[in-house]
């Protein structure tokens, strides 16, 4: 479980996050949604400690993280798997080396076992046998999937995904969503997914947090999103033609 309290963040004089609190439960995907530029990625980075929040607290299973000392931070970080918006693959390493990297630096697994684990993860994201390609030789969607494989390879307790399915075709996109859902339930981990893909929201939106200009305007389950009464949320959700049709059914 991850809990955040009153997170504030400004860059120079621009306020990006204005006091966000919430709880992200174990064992089901938690979604953060909102339109482009509202601060979703910044919030995610505040939670994992890549950007220090100006104000506010982050708890990883009751361990306070933002003000923790280096040892506690390192300990928590070794339990974090993260998929970045652009994949963030190490471009001097092959696909296999990229996925194996967390195992190399965080564990003392023997080489053969590591390789088995890497192949297992690559297979789960549908990239079996692509081990020796370089990141520059694969497509954007494939990079994302390698990024996911790298994020889950270490069996982390906390999984963060920044737009796991932007730039993917609908079919692969659903595959990835299902994968995230499966992993979350199977290993009972805490997963936070940032997205603006309505398909994902409808598919895996068990717990949705809607951000608007740095504030949390709505929170709830995918079954409740038709009648929230929040104007900004409706504008976001029903910008999509299909969703508009659904609403008028």
């Amino acid at each position: 479980m991850i809990r955040i309290e009153n997170i504030h963040k400004s860059f120079e004089d621009k306020q990006i996050l204005r006091g966000i609190s919430g709880t992200f439960e174990k064992g089901k995907p938690n979604l953060i949604i909102g339109s482009s530029g509202t601060g979703k990625s910044v919030l995610l980075k505040c939670i994992v400690g890549l950007i220090p929040p100006d104000e506010g607290l982050v708890y990883f299973d009751d361990k306070e993280f933002t003000h923790a000392n280096r040892d506690v931070k390192t300990e928590v970080r070794r339990e974090i798997g993260m998929l970045f918006q652009g994949g963030a693959l190490f471009d001097s390493k092959t696909v296999e080396q990229n996925v194996m990297f967390p195992l190399d630096v965080l564990t003392k697994m023997p080489k053969g076992e590591k390789l088995d684990r890497v192949n297992f993860c690559l297979e789960r994201v549908g990239l079996a046998g692509q081990n020796h390609k370089m990141p520059s030789e694969i497509s954007g969607g494939m990079k994302k999937r390698v990024g996911i494989a790298r994020a889950i390879v270490n069996n982390s307790q906390y999984l963060f995904c920044d737009e796991p399915n932007s730039g993917l075709d609908p079919q692969t996109s659903i595959l990835i969503d299902d994968l995230i859902m499966e992993i979350t339930e199977e290993y009972n981990i805490t997963t936070i997914v940032v997205t603006h893909d309505m398909n994902s929201v409808l598919g895996i939106g068990e717990n949705i947090m809607f951000l608007y200009k740095g504030k949390k305007l709505w929170e709830g389950n995918k079954n409740d999103l038709m009648n929230t009464g929040v104007k900004e949320f409706d504008e976001f959700v029903f910008a999509n033609k299909v969703m508009q049709k659904l609403k008028h059914l």
């Binding site: 280096r70 970080r77 918006q85 963030a88 693959l89 190490f90 471009d91 967390p102």
Partner: protein, 242 residues
């Protein structure tokens, strides 16, 4: 001023929370290979011609029959060992190795690769930069030694081809009142320059923000600032140690 403070904090951060020795060893060897192979050709080419040109120009300037010919190679020797090999090559080194370090790290920064390392609990500055500095400090003095040798060979061949000095005179001049301290001094300089280029360029690259345009800027400013630092250090070292 603020930047200089940030630079020293950056240097300090390289030494906390490090990975295992084995990790650094492997990364440092990789850096050594890429630095060495990447710059040897240019360094060799430049130093060879510097030696050749210095010989011809010195000969051209020494027209008096009172000055013996071997003074030409003596001048070539002292100039290349003391100044041309360590300093001029350092400027070239900054342009080649420094800029590629800065743009490499800058690209890793903007494509969130540095964030990815950080999230895994790795001290990204130390993991990425320390091997670069170690590699640079190990390889650059070797490049300077090669450069010094090749300059002298270049001068020899130029003398031979243009008949401004005979081989015997050239060799005599090279050995005449040779002071070993000049070599020590050149090596001290090269350690300092190698450290400056690698650390300044890494600093610039590591703190890149923005996009591809800023990576280009970081790499240009890494070269400019490395060169300034080299020249300042050159002056200070000459005052302190000569």
């Amino acid at each position: 001023m603020e930047t200089i403070g940030k630079y020293f904090i950056f240097l300090g951060s390289l030494f906390v929370n490090r990975e295992s020795f084995k990790t650094y060893f492997k990364l440092t060897i990789d850096e050594c290979v890429s630095i060495g192979i990447g710059s040897i050709f240019l360094v060799a080419l430049v130093s060879f011609f510097i030696g050749a040109v210095t010989t011809i120009q010195t000969a051209y300037n020494l027209v008096s029959p009172l000055i013996p010919n071997y003074v030409i190679s003596l001048v070539v020797r002292d100039m290349t060992i003391l100044e041309l090999a360590p300093t001029i090559i350092a400027v070239i080194y900054a342009g080649k190795v420094g800029s590629s370090m800065a743009s490499g790290l800058g690209t890793m920064r903007i494509s969130e690769q540095i964030d990815a390392l950080q999230v895994m609990g790795i001290n990204s500055a130390s993991y990425l930069v320390l091997p670069k500095i170690l590699g640079s400090v190990l390889m650059y003095p070797m490049l300077v030694i090669i450069a010094g040798l090749l300059s002298i060979v270049g001068g020899y061949l130029a003398g031979l081809m243009t008949d401004v000095i005979t081989p015997t005179q050239y060799i005599y001049g090279i050995r005449f009142e040779f002071n070993e301290y000049t070599v020590t001094f050149a090596l001290i300089k090269s350690f300092v320059f190698a450290f400056l280029v690698a650390s300044i360029s890494s600093f610039k690259g590591y703190y890149t923000t923005g996009g591809a345009l800023e990576v280009g800027r970081a790499s240009t400013s890494a070269v400019t600032q490395s060169v300034i630092a080299i020249l300042l250090a050159d002056y200070l070292l000459a005052q302190l140690l000569l």
